[in-house]
């Protein structure tokens, strides 16, 4: 596609429910990243995929968070038993090749509100 897309754009859920956030990277981009941005904060790295594997899961804040990527393309970030502190904008990014140490293209994000 022309850019990174994410869905839904907004999600309001009740505390304790599970949510799934979706990311469609730029076609052909092998690397995919998930970040979280809480109100007034910078971006917090969550997880990185190279192809379908996740060599770096160091940023996942708890075992309630998981992510998968299939077919080297679409990725889903799942948050189980959501808590109010999970409220944030979840941003996905993709890049074209490994080892560039560089440019990532971001999607518009999903704003998650846990009530």
């Amino acid at each position: 596609g022309a850019g990174v897309s994410q869905s839904p754009s907004n999600k309001v859920t009740e505390k304790g429910k599970d949510v799934e956030l979706r990311c469609d990277p730029i076609s052909g981009h092998t690397a995919l990243y998930w970040y979280r941005q809480s109100l007034g904060q910078g971006l917090e790295f969550l997880i990185y995929f190279q192809g379908n594997s996740a060599p770096d899961k160091s940023g996942l804040p708890s075992d309630r968070f998981s992510a998968e990527r299939t077919g080297g393309s679409v990725s889903t970030l799942t948050i189980q038993r959501t808590q109010q502190e999970d409220s944030a904008v979840y941003l996905c990014a993709s890049s074209s090749s490994p080892g560039t140490g560089g440019e990532q293209y971001f999607g518009p994000g999903t704003r998650l509100t846990v009530t």
Binding site: V4, L43, F45, E103, P108, G109
Partner: protein, 110 residues
């Protein structure tokens, strides 16, 4: 622990002024320093710097990296109201991870 610190956190200036945004980093396995502009949700790429002392320019924006002192600056000259945004600095670490600073919120008043 990898850390990127930006200053100031917030800056308000008048249209036409020149601004300098600062970014210092302390990370292991440094690869690059990136600047992004965030207006609504999606950060948009501005610059990637890998070599010390070489200025990168794009119109009224420019940036430079000092790998000895571990910092970078982003300059914007002749600011316009459309430059109002959050400016994010990130250190590229290891294979592809980015460690972000907290951002500088820049407001340009007419």
């Amino acid at each position: 622990e990898d850390k990127v610190v930006q200053s100031p956190l917030s800056l308000v200036v008048h249209e036409g002024d020149t601004v300098t945004l600062n970014c210092s980093y302390e990370v292991t396995n440094f690869r690059s320093l990136l600047w992004y502009k965030q207006e609504k949700k999606a950060p948009t790429f501005l610059f990637m710097l890998t070599s010390s002392g070489i200025e990168k320019k794009s119109g009224r924006l420019s940036s430079i990296l000092d790998k000895k002192e571990l910092f970078s600056i982003l300059n914007i000259t002749a600011t316009q109201t459309g430059d109002s945004a959050i400016y994010l600095c990130a250190a590229g670490v290891g294979a592809q991870k980015l460690v972000f600073g907290q951002g500088t919120r820049l407001t340009i008043n007419p």
